[in-house]
């Protein structure tokens, strides 16, 4: 009912964030989408047609007609993409689930720590960001490889006889993802746990809930928004992760980020790579929209 009654100034203020999204997010996406409909070419740029202002209307229309969905058709024929998607989703899913198990106790300990210690703990949690991500992933090679630190230690302790082959496997990729993305899981969980009213736990205990029941009935359900936020924040970039599978993975590691890289730079098939990227976006945004809709509906219900 307020619509149509906004002044120009109000519209401008409300429009500014949308402009931001259009310029910095939608425009590049549109460019990628357009490339995905083009044909590969042995030229620079490595696809055609290229639209230009000098084409005129007729020229542009003619070029428009040469756009096709050919790049998308290859997905049906080439198992490589399907396998890449499935492996990516599996690795990201397993990593996210394990990361949740690692991060939850961490976040809980941080949220229950004495108030004056908490800023220090948060600082320590994000401290790794002060060094290069690349170097930290490289460091894991030294830790994980057959003659690496972990295998040395385990053998010295006589826990294993032969080195574990972790490096250059999917396990190494999962470890790398958990390590690299942990703060993104930790901080939303911490935020959700820290603002819980301690009186709620006391009330639950007072009503006869054992410490375990207090956790399952009160602490965990109330932290679910943090769990969802953390998982999305970690899962989505992990699916498209390129550096970690490239450095820690082996030949079996077929993640979509790596496949995209190969298409862009080795095969120089930009349309196919762009089409794969667009498909990935659709795959990831779909569940996100469903989750967001469910959340909005749940929030909207009371009023």
């Amino acid at each position: 009912m307020m619509r149509g009654k906004l002044s120009f100034g109000q519209r401008a203020v409300l429009g500014a964030p949308y402009l931001w999204v259009v310029v910095f997010f939608l425009a590049p996406m549109a460019l990628i989408a357009k490339i995905s409909l083009s044909h590969p070419a042995q030229a620079r740029p490595p696809y055609e047609p290229v639209f230009s202002l000098s084409d005129g209307l007729a020229g542009s229309l003619a070029k428009l007609q040469t756009l096709s969905l050919d790049a998308y058709r290859t997905f049906g024929e080439d198992r490589l993409y399907l396998d890449s998607y499935l492996t990516s989703l599996a690795i990201a899913g397993v990593s996210t689930a394990l990361m949740l198990l690692v991060a939850y106790p961490f976040a809980l300990a941080m949220a229950r720590a004495p108030r004056r210690l908490r800023p220090i703990l948060i600082g320590l949690a994000v401290a790794p960001f002060w060094t290069s991500f690349l170097i930290r992933v490289y460091a894991w090679i030294a830790l994980l490889k057959d003659e690496g630190l972990i295998n040395h230690a385990l053998m010295a302790l006589h826990l294993i006889d032969a080195p574990l082959s972790i490096y250059a496997t999917n396990v190494a990729v999962v470890i790398g993802i958990i390590y690299s993305y942990l703060p993104f899981m930790l901080l939303p969980l911490y935020a959700a746990l820290e603002r819980q009213d301690p009186a709620l736990r006391e009330a639950a205990a007072d009503l006869g809930a054992s410490p375990a029941q207090v956790f399952w009935r009160v602490t965990l359900p109330l932290s679910l928004p943090g769990v969802v936020a953390g998982c999305l924040l970690v899962f989505i970039p992990a699916v498209g992760e390129f550096v970690i599978p490239d450095l820690l993975g082996g030949s079996e590691t077929l993640m979509i980020g790596k496949t995209l890289w190969t298409d862009f730079f080795a095969n120089r098939d930009w349309p196919a790579a762009s089409a794969a990227a667009i498909l990935l976006l659709v795959l990831l945004i779909g569940p996100l929209l469903v989750a967001e809709r469910a959340r909005l509906r749940a929030e909207g219900k009371p009023t």
Partner: protein, 351 residues
């Protein structure tokens, strides 16, 4: 009081670092009794209640419930429930599930739970609210859900932490009567923590007045009001005039004040002792003539049944006096104040 108290706190003490929250506190609460812990903030009443609930452990002393030593037992193992000041309702659960929480922890069957929850929603008059979410409730409704939730497991003792503090004045008075009514009907012992003396006087069978981690006096509302054990209790519970003076013994006991000698019925204090007389406003009779203390009306405040007067007397002092409705005293009118020899309580100047 009774030979077998339900709750018995024996010489409990508790300190947090350098702060002594509880000095040495002992009290008994009987079966079905409505007991109030009254005191200003920081007097240790909340610590004492958290000690009974099991959220704090005493440094020394014991807490017994029905003769059984509770010291060291965690909160979930105590047949004591608490209604929190913030209500602490579970925001992710419906009204029904909030009230059912304690019952389900006891392992009650589905039928038992729904029957008991329905019974409690009936008691607190929230019959059709089972499916509501907590954020859909008003403050008064939340308060009643909190009460129902705490009562649901059928505790022998219910602790109420400032249960009416978050309600507005009108609602608070209504709820006071409901609370008293529910307590009488269920015959559960209630221990209420409050800083509001009116609330304690109106609700409780007995009151413990606390100050700085210790109990100053335990007694019925009438005892506390009419025979305060200390100057602090007299000042904290109800309005009073604190009159300083000196005791004299010649031809009977006298209390010598800046505005005149007051006859006392009897006085155990020796002559020459400095003391304070606590006189309630209604213990001073005000008249237009007579041979009482002379004074001038300085302020008149209409309070419905009574009118509160501030009467200036000699020695730059002023007394609060309560006059009944029909008298119609005016500002700057000269009056006489009659103080009966047995009115008020005299405290030796030791505090």
């Amino acid at each position: 009081m009774t030979t077998n108290p339900l709750l018995s706190v024996q010489h409990a003490s508790k300190r947090f670092g350098a702060v002594i929250a509880l000095g040495d506190v002992s009290l008994d609460v009987g079966v079905g009794e409505f007991f109030a812990l009254l005191g200003p903030s920081g007097c240790g009443k909340t610590t004492l209640m958290r000690l009974i609930a099991g959220f704090e452990t005493p440094d020394s002393g014991r807490v017994l419930l029905g003769g059984e030593d509770l010291t060291g037992a965690p909160p979930h193992c105590r047949a004591v429930n608490m209604m929190f000041q913030s209500y602490a309702l579970f925001p992710h659960l419906s009204v029904f599930d909030n009230i059912a929480f304690g019952l389900r922890r006891q392992g009650a069957s589905r039928e038992t739970v729904s029957a008991r929850v329905a019974e409690l929603m009936d008691i607190v008059q929230l019959q059709d609210f089972g499916a509501r979410r907590i954020e859909q409730l008003s403050g008064g409704q939340k308060q009643r859900v909190a009460l129902a939730r705490a009562l649901a497991p059928g505790p022998s003792l219910l602790l109420l932490d400032e249960p009416l503090a978050a309600l507005d004045r009108k609602l608070r008075e209504e709820t006071q009567f409901q609370l008293k009514d529910i307590q009488r009907r269920l015959k559960t012992s209630f221990v209420i923590v409050t800083h509001d003396q009116d609330e304690a006087l109106a609700l409780a069978d007995r009151i413990a007045v606390m100050r700085a981690g210790n109990i100053e006096q335990i007694g019925s509302p009438v005892e506390i009001y009419e025979r305060p054990a200390s100057r602090f209790v007299a000042g904290f519970v109800g309005a009073t005039n604190m009159i300083e003076g000196v005791v004299a013994h010649d031809d009977g006991a006298w209390f010598v004040t800046p505005f005149g000698r007051l006859k006392r019925a009897d006085c155990v204090l020796p002559a020459g002792a400095r003391a304070t007389l606590s006189l309630r406003p209604e213990q001073i009779a005000v008249a237009r003539d007579g041979d009482g203390v002379a004074g001038v009306v300085e302020d008149v405040a209409f309070r419905g049944e009574t009118t509160q007067l501030r009467v200036g007397v000699a020695g730059r002092a002023a007394l609060r006096v309560s006059a009944s409705k029909g008298e119609g005293f005016q500002l700057v009118e000269s009056v006489r104040l009659e103080i009966a020899p047995d009115a008020g309580v005299l405290f030796a100047e030791t505090e």
